[in-house]
């Protein structure tokens, strides 16, 4: 089952959902904090709900306040980077570029894509952590190939 867990993780990296930062988090797991990664990811999804709501509300305003949108997305990108959420981070970067150029339609379109990636990652990580809990205590983090 450890091998299956490793395969699941490798797949998340191969499909571009996660980056090296996720491995850095796993390396912080020890006997004192055996579920560190799951706790941090849970914290990410809990705390980012407010940011998503702020962005949704800000995107409904007319005219758009690109400075405010950029500020919210800066925070969101930072948090997403902290857990290694690669695809989410890419959408955050694209969104900020649209803010920079004042492209409201681009912002709205990218935000929809961002929410898809954010939700997809959440589902995949829920499955991964559920499996990891069944496997038992985490062995030393292995870097994906």
């Amino acid at each position: 089952m450890q091998r299956q867990l490793a395969t699941m993780k490798q797949s998340l990296f191969d499909q571009g959902y996660l980056d090296e930062q996720f491995v850095q988090l796993e390396e912080l797991q020890d006997e004192v904090n055996p579920n560190f990664v799951e706790e941090v990811v849970t914290l990410y999804y809990r705390d980012s709900v407010r940011l998503v709501q702020n962005l949704e509300q800000a995107l409904e305003k007319n005219p758009l306040d690109f400075s405010k949108l950029d500020s919210y997305m800066h925070q969101f990108k930072g948090s997403s980077s902290s857990i290694g959420a690669k695809k989410v981070k890419i959408e955050c970067t694209q969104f900020r570029e649209y803010c920079r150029t004042g492209n409201g339609e681009g912002c709205k379109r990218t935000f929809q894509q961002l929410k898809k990636e954010y939700a997809t990652l959440k589902k995949k990580l829920e499955v991964y952590f559920q499996f990891a809990r069944q496997v038992g205590p985490v062995e030393k983090a292995r870097r994906p190939k």
């Binding site: 912080l28 020890d30 904090n33 560190f36 941090v40 914290l43 705390d47 800066h74 902290s82």
Partner: protein, 128 residues
């Protein structure tokens, strides 16, 4: 780190995720005493209360008092602790301004293990 000397660190960040990750990184590399505050003003108030820290990990963008202002104030107070800035900001001019506030170094977020090792190597030299 020299045995017997307990290095104390302060994490200054309004983001709970960053607080958690940075504290865990410091613990992994041997810094067992770490405090966490949510903005620059809380950091300044801690130092004013008489607390000292060998290492401060200071985020740039925070409400109430940001990292630049907090760093400037700490240096004006005569604080000589190692203050390392961390930021997800991509604008070089803003990072340069943050450095000018009195940082010893500035790193991109998220911090990595190698960044912490580099910081602690510098801190070890400073403490000798």
């Amino acid at each position: 780190m020299e045995e017997g000397k307990r290095v104390c660190a302060l994490v200054v960040d309004d983001d709970r995720l960053s607080q958690r990750v940075h504290a865990a990184l410091l613990r992994k590399y041997g810094i067992l005493e770490t405090e966490v505050v949510e903005n620059g003003k809380e950091a300044v108030d801690l130092f004013k209360s008489g607390k000292t820290f060998d290492l401060v990990i200071m985020d740039l963008e925070m409400p109430v008092m940001d990292g630049s202002e907090a760093t400037r104030e700490l240096r004006e107070m005569g604080v000589t602790s190692m203050i390392v800035g961390v930021t997800a900001c991509e604008v070089e001019a803003e990072k340069a301004e943050f450095m000018r506030a009195g940082l010893d170094a500035c790193w991109d977020k998220p911090l990595s293990g190698s960044a912490i090792i580099a910081m602690l190597d510098e801190l070890a030299k400073k403490l000798l």
